[in-house]
Symmetry: C2
Amino acid sequence: MSLLVMKFGGTSVADLARIENAAQKVKAEVENGHNVIVIVSAMSGKTNELVGWVSETSPFYDAREYDAVVSSGENVTAGLMALRLQEMDVPARSWQGWQVPVKTTSAHSSARIEDILPQNINAKFAEGMKVAVVAGFQGISPEGRITTLGRGGSDTTAVAFAAAFGAERCDIYTDVDGVYTTDPRVSEKARKLDKIAFEEMLELASLGAKVLQTRSVELAMRYKVKLRVLSSFEEQTDTAGTLVCDEEEIMENRPVSGIAFSRDEAKMTLVSVLDTPGVAAAIFGPLSEAGINVDMIIQNISEEDAGKNITDMTFSCPTDQVARAKKALDAAQASGALVFDELIVDENVAKVSAVGIGMRSQSGVAAKMFKTLSDEGINIKVIATSEIKISVLIDRKYMELAVQALHDAFELERA
Amino acid sequence: MSLLVMKFGGTSVADLARIENAAQKVKAEVENGHNVIVIVSAMSGKTNELVGWVSETSPFYDAREYDAVVSSGENVTAGLMALRLQEMDVPARSWQGWQVPVKTTSAHSSARIEDILPQNINAKFAEGMKVAVVAGFQGISPEGRITTLGRGGSDTTAVAFAAAFGAERCDIYTDVDGVYTTDPRVSEKARKLDKIAFEEMLELASLGAKVLQTRSVELAMRYKVKLRVLSSFEEQTDTAGTLVCDEEEIMENRPVSGIAFSRDEAKMTLVSVLDTPGVAAAIFGPLSEAGINVDMIIQNISEEDAGKNITDMTFSCPTDQVARAKKALDAAQASGALVFDELIVDENVAKVSAVGIGMRSQSGVAAKMFKTLSDEGINIKVIATSEIKISVLIDRKYMELAVQALHDAFELERA
């Protein structure tokens, strides 16, 4: 008997009518001959309500109690979905994380799944159950306490179940109908991708295309889980959504698959840093300890000034971390560990990235990207590259223009 | 280390401010040197919301899924209460039914507690935990599924924990400040009782004084758990509330401790029933199968009519069961199992009862009750008695008058 995993996010189970809509999609797969494991999120808004109560009760809360409270939203949806399926004559039952069990680390509120034991659920499938409805986002620690996996964790639950049960596919139902070449709100030429490679999806996810939790994509890549992203509000067809898969399954690798962007970037430049051995550690050590997500880094060529080596050091980080980063660097200077003249912060920047596994084998992608931006009169402030990604920092006011120009230049509107 | 059980009902934990108020009372007991097991209900309204969703999703729901959904309300309160106590520097943690574990039967949505294993909680007390906050109303079945104990089940959870842990006392915090000689809304002379015997409380609970779930009183009586009912909205003192205890602990047994009543009673009379051996079974068998809670029963002396024995049979039941009772009796007649001329239903009756363990040793209570009602011109329609209770069915319009007159006659306003 082939097995599918279907995951429904908060907006897809927001109320009883939407739970029914989701249940219809599950029933259709059962009628196609599948057994199904359904992973559900909390009804949208519920988790925020519970988190609000916890924070109001205890600002620096015990994460174990946070998990005990916040996990309850998924339990409600799981029971209601099982009932809805039963009403449709589909043999179904609900499972909470500890009942499966989903074994996790003890890192409460951001636990990692260590093991999923399939015996209990498989025994019920053997007895005739067609659908196991599992509360997503949660598990049980070695101490027997409830854990949660962090926001968006139900995606990871879904992929982990698909891996543990050897599912044929893992379908992630959400409120968008797939992964696009870029955000349709920025370029009307944006096109839905039928397939995308795991590596590309990882770059897109971490660049801010919030379709899937990054961890779930990593897990799918490691265990070769075929992942499909599709809308719960559209008709189910064989070509619906976007398949996230191994690059071997994608016939033609174009150099660029998508243009991602992030508005919330800031550029910080340390001017006239005294360039001694270990200066990079003196800068990025304190930033790391302060929890700053440093992204791009550039060091200018060192110059000699009055017998000392002097350089400028530039990096980018999310805008909401600027104040903390400044504080960490000022403290490093005050302690004498770091010497610099000035710290210049530019919060009017945006990051634009071209992503594509085809870059590995095709040259000239960077040159084409830089020329396109230059033709539009857009100045590049910082450049960073990986094997399958080229990112640039530019003035924020040019962001939309840059995305549209690059989308055109790489002909992403063509299927 | 002495141990207390404290139970807070839905109105006592209705919002974060009330949870804080309840936590203050728990902290005060910890400062008095007690370890405490706190049993919490769902925030008021939450259980009804969840039950509503279940019923709307599936009118004839799978009780196992009902339990999985509805139990989540208590889990939220337990976590929030533990967090609130931690904020007050009281070492506390939450426990869900399956974590304790609270072992129950598999009778979902009306399960009975079979065993509570104290090891896990006691191990945490030994490590320095002062308060275990336990989600009430729930347990785990032999199959590993979540069960609930029926509405009001948190009272039973509290008493069962007090018995299992040998608690010094079980305090039930609610929105009334104790048990009264009668409903203060009916008689302004109603007086709060300092003590009441288990047997009396059982009669009052089943007669409609909805302070405690009947089952919790039975359990407290069996295991000799000292039970105190008190308000969570008043100052805690040694004489607060009402102590429900063994009759030996009550110094002076007055003949009558309280006057209970129930508005929602109906009287049904089967006229000219053919009185054959087994006629009672032919009447009350079908009623029992239809789930009718028959209360008082009277059979008139049989008369001979045309060579057959003919009698009238009268019984009472809750008004909302009248239609079902009628249907069951009509069906019995149609099948030939039962022969009667007519079924007369009187829905304008009320039940008034005098309850007191002193009746066992003092005579003349019934006579005094009947004379009091007679002096007020109130006609008694049906009488039923137990060892410690005398109940009468009267016209509903005289109910308040009867309660007030009996309250006066037995001098219940005097402490």
